[in-house]
């Protein structure tokens, strides 16, 4: 009975993995067949795990807290949840994507739903939705389990130490651990040091589960994460402290019913404090304090049911988020200058989502998902509100928005083939930055950005399709494409009448709606197991973005390729790969983007697992950027260079 229950509990994930829109990277535990994981294993940073997902790129402002970009869309168009919990970053300069507030040790896996076919808790997920699945020991596991891992990287003297332990029984489980990560300034290819690229981070977590009755379970989660002394070489400021406190309590009922399977209700609360710091920078014209705060409290309630060929999920969610940020500037000698940059915006959002996976005859499935959400926003800070009214005299201090999405995907898997295509429509409300941000300096295009409370919701129609041909078990060839046709695309637009605040800024941009815009993503991939111990795989991708004047949109990946050979010999697994980007021909000068040169690097890694009695010891080692190339990618903010040659070793020990 219990085993069955667990199987169903886990099935919510595996149900989803049948289409090309869903991708998952495994952070801990043994990776299943075909499952992705970082070559650095558990010791890899969240950012390195994210980089393994298809459709995902990362915008880098330093060596820490990279911003996930899904289908060439940044945070505004991507939903990120932690086990279904909403959490919002606290930095007006996007120095802290919410993925930076967890550690690898906290996670089981990262699940990506590409495009509009999002997970039930996601809202505003035009580009996609990421759900960071927390690692829970679960019931009926080992009475005691210990995990320890450590890693070292030569470039930047990166040190990683992690330890966690778990206990589990039929009625109770608990797991918890701590993680420490430290990095000095790294060196770019060629050996020059990149100043202000250091960081340090500590993280502690615990998960508790208690079986109240045979069919009722209570689960609690607690994560504390604190990054200090984080350098951002691409920006004018660093971060002295980025701190998160994430907690939840969930109740889950297991039905013994022909239709209903499970019903989970989770209450959660999280709080982020983000403190920027420019005191260590030389030649600062005006010292500034820029703290930001975000707190979110919410709940979701998810019911799963199956009848006949239908697997249905119904989800209700509600959250309340507060975002406040301000800025104080200290000109030498004169009075400090103060402004509110996020006017303490309270957002109450509630929505209902429905997902139905229908199994049809002849290996066909249809997955339909839909969500409708309503949002109330209020500007709680008078000073910030009055400041914005200078630019928008008719604005109100409260707004209501309704958003929704609906998407369907059809999959057919005849022998040797997998075909799928899907479509969807979805909308998103403007973010707090887009609607109410106040003189937020963007170092990418050197403009000060002002939010626009008059913005309309942005919406998009998505079309996607994929085909995989697998004539034998040793060869496969696949193609994947999607296209997003936007209406009211939100982007910063020149406002020549306004004067910049930041001393070196080029001018002011105010967020506005473009009548339409388009983003397309395509990729081809192939895999060939030439010999039982030798596999080659390759992937090329191409994307394009166009605004309403058919000019390129910024932050769209140029032509990219990866080619690698995996060699597996006994317990040793090695991989050598080449990856690179072609010249960025389609860059967006109109939006302040500069052309990025082509680059290619080679990486080598090896994994060796040594079982010692009941325990397993895993060694991982590798060289990144073997030839010490100096390069930066299109997603490197202000073209900061990537790491040069980096040798890493790490060791994981499971007891």
């Amino acid at each position: 009975m219990i085993a069955l229950a667990l199987a169903i509990l886990l099935s919510t994930d595996s149900v989803a993995t049948s289409s090309h829109l869903i991708d998952e990277v495994v952070v801990v535990s043994v990776a299943g067949e075909g499952r992705k994981r970082s070559p650095k294993g558990q010791v890899a940073s969240i950012d390195e795990h994210l980089a393994e997902l298809s459709h995902v790129n990362l915008v880098r402002r330093g060596s820490y807290a990279w911003e996930p970009v899904v289908n060439n869309m940044q945070t505004e168009r991507v939903s990120t949840t932690i086990d279904g919990m909403k959490i919002f970053y606290a930095c007006t300069d996007k120095m802290d994507p919410v993925t930076s507030y967890v550690e690898s040790g906290n996670l089981q896996s990262i699940l990506l739903n590409s495009g509009l076919n999002g997970n039930p808790q996601s809202t505003g997920n035009i580009g996609g939705s990421l759900d960071l699945k927390l690692r829970k020991a679960g019931f009926n596991g080992d009475a005691f389990h210990l995990n320890a891992s450590t890693g070292y990287e030569t470039n930047g003297h990166v040190q990683v130490y992690g330890v966690d332990a778990s206990t589990s029984s039929n009625r109770f489980y608990a797991n918890g651990g701590a993680f420490f990560r430290h990095a000095d300034n790294y060196k770019e290819g060629g050996g020059r040091k990149v100043s202000f690229s250091q960081f340090q981070k500590v993280n502690a977590f615990s998960n508790l589960g208690f079986r109240v009755t045979e069919q009722d379970v209570l689960e609690g989660t607690f994560i504390y994460d604190r990054a200090t002394d984080v350098g951002y070489p691409a920006l004018n400021m660093d971060v002295s402290k980025a701190e998160a406190f994430i907690t939840s309590l969930a109740y889950r009922h297991q039905f013994d019913h022909p239709v209903f399977n499970t019903w989970e209700t989770k209450l959660y609360y999280n709080h982020i404090t983000h403190i920027m710091d420019d005191t260590t920078r030389p030649d600062v014209a005006i010292h500034m304090d820029m703290p930001g705060k975000s707190w979110t409290s919410g709940l979701y309630s998810l019911l799963t049911a199956s009848k006949g060929s239908h697997d249905v999920q119904v989800n209700y969610d509600l959250y309340y988020n507060r975002l406040f940020a301000d800025m104080t500037m200290y000109p030498g000698g004169a009075a400090p200058m103060y402004m509110v940059t996020w006017p303490d915006v309270g957002t109450l959002n509630t929505g209902v989502a429905l997902t139905d996976l229908v199994a049809l005859p002849h290996q066909q499935t249809v997955r339909v998902s839909a969500k409708i959400a309503q949002q109330w926003q209020k500007l709680n800070d008078e000073e910030g509100y009055h400041a914005l009214r200078v630019f928008f005299p008719d604005m109100k201090d409260n707004y209501v928005q309704t958003t929704g999405r609906i998407a369907a995907i059809y999959t057919w898997q005849p022998s040797h083939w997998q075909l799928s295509f899907g479509t969807g429509w979805g909308s998103r409300a403007p973010t707090v930055t887009e609607a109410y941000g106040y003189y937020l300096n963007n170092t990418f295009d050197q403009y000060d950005y002002i939010g626009n409370p008059r913005l309309k919701n942005e919406s998009a129609i998505e079309l996607n399709g994929a085909v995989t041909w697998r004539p034998s078990t040793t060869f496969s060839l696949g193609a994947d494409a999607n296209a997003f046709f936007f209406s009211n695309y939100i982007i910063g637009q020149f406002e020549n009448r306004l004067s910049a605040m930041t001393v070196d800024a080029e001018g002011v941009k105010v967020y506005g709606n473009l009548s339409h815009a388009t983003i397309i993503n395509t990729s081809l991939n192939a895999q060939w197991q030439a010999l039982p111990w030798l596999t080659w795989n390759g992937k090329i991708s191409y994307a394009a973005g166009r605004d309403d004047d058919s000019d390129p949109l910024p932050f769209i990946s140029p032509f990219a390729y990866t080619s690698g050979i995996d060699v597996a010999w006994k317990r040793l697994h090695t991989r050598v790969e080449v990856r690179g980007n072609a010249r960025q021909t389609d860059y967006a000068p109109k939006y302040g983007e500069t052309k990025t040169a082509p680059w290619a690097i080679a990486n080598l890694n090896a994994t060796y697992t040594l079982p010692i009695r009941q325990t397993a010891l895993t060694f991982r080692a590798g060289i990144e950027n073997i030839f010490d190339k100096r390069y930066s990618t299109y997603a490197d903010w202000c073209d900061i260079p990537q790491k040069g040659r980096n040798v890493y070793v790490n060791l994981a020990w499971e007891l």
Binding site: Y338, H386, A387, V390, Y439
Partner: protein, 315 residues
């Protein structure tokens, strides 16, 4: 002390009642040091209470207060109990000595600041209000005037202030009484002058301390000396338009949109709209134009491109 507590308590109770009950028992109001009688010259209990409460928000200037005919007292107040360079408001009340109650009608005239320039042994006055009036229907018994001191007290010179008063047929004069005018802190310059038509005009900003981030009304007076420079400077007869260009010198001369020029109002003051995008030092560059639209003062192109005529306001 006990009486005062009782007074405040009763005042609070009375205020609470007055909003819902029009038949107040006026004898219920007790104000410290004031005896309410049926004296027609004086305030009713409610009026007296309002005056009393207003006076709690300002500070007395003892040296400018005077006794009239042994029967009345006239008291002068300012926001802080002292004076500073630029525009200052002065409030007056008159009381009957016998009851301590506020007298409803009295006249203050010839409010005159005078500076003695020590080195040259010369005297000059400064902009001041022409009339002293009840400034609000709620405070009939409070009269308000203003003085805009063109410079602070310093080794170079001292200020004196004088005025005449008439209370219920009796009159008295506060003769040139020495006062201290404090310099404004760094980043505050609230009075400026310009020369035109062979005259020197003074621009006094009225409400810089009210400014907040966002949209603000900006108010000012344009004053000009008469023949006698030792008489207070009255409002200029000529009409001007004062264009404003607020800038933040510490932020690369950042400015704000949608500011409107100060134009003359019926009461002789000038008013416009100033938008301030943040706190800090704002230099409000001025261009003064006459009714034909010709530049009278300011608006000159310095090498940084901004008018040399300006007010500084730090908020």
């Amino acid at each position: 002390m006990k009486l005062k507590v009782l007074a405040l308590f009763l005042a609070a109770v009375t205020l609470g009642l007055s909003s819902c009950n029009s038949n107040d028992d006026e004898n219920g109001i007790v104000i410290d040091g004031i005896t309410i009688t049926d004296d027609v010259d004086c305030c009713s209990a409610e009026e007296a209470l309002q005056v009393y409460k207003f006076l709690q928000t300002v500070k007395i200037i003892p040296e400018l207060s005077i006794e009239v005919d042994g029967k009345y007292n006239v008291w002068a107040y300012s926001q802080s109990g002292s004076f500073h360079t630029g525009y200052n408001e002065i409030y007056f009340v008159a009381t009957k000595k016998i009851s301590g109650n506020y007298i409803k009608k009295f006249n203050i005239k010839n409010l005159t600041p005078l500076m003695h320039m020590v080195k040259m042994d010369m005297y000059h006055s400064s902009p001041a209000s022409e009339g002293i009036e009840s400034f609000n229907d709620s405070y009939l018994a409070v009269q308000r005037g203003w003085v805009s001191f063109s410079m602070p007290t310093s080794e170079a010179g001292d200020w004196v202030l004088s005025y005449d008063v008439e209370v219920l047929g009796s009159s008295a004069q506060v003769e040139k009484t020495a006062i201290m005018v404090d310099a404004l802190p760094e980043g505050q310059e609230w009075v400026k002058s310009f020369k035109a038509n062979d005259k020197t005009y003074y621009l006094s900003i009225v409400n810089p301390t009210d400014f907040e981030t966002g949209k603000n009304t900006i108010e000012a007076y344009v004053s000009v000396p008469g023949e006698d420079r030792t008489a207070s400077f009255g409002l200029a007869k000529e009409e001007f338009t004062i264009e404003i260009d607020p800038r933040m010198p510490d932020m690369g001369n950042h400015t704000s949109p949608d500011n409107t020029s100060l134009v003359r109002q019926k009461d002789g003051s000038y008013q416009g709209i100033i938008n301030l995008t943040m706190t800090g030092l704002w230099r409000i560059h001025l261009t003064v134009k006459d009714t034909k639209g010709d530049v009278v003062a300011g608006g000159d192109d310095l090498k940084d491109g901004y008018s040399s005529l300006f007010w500084d306001v730090t908020l």
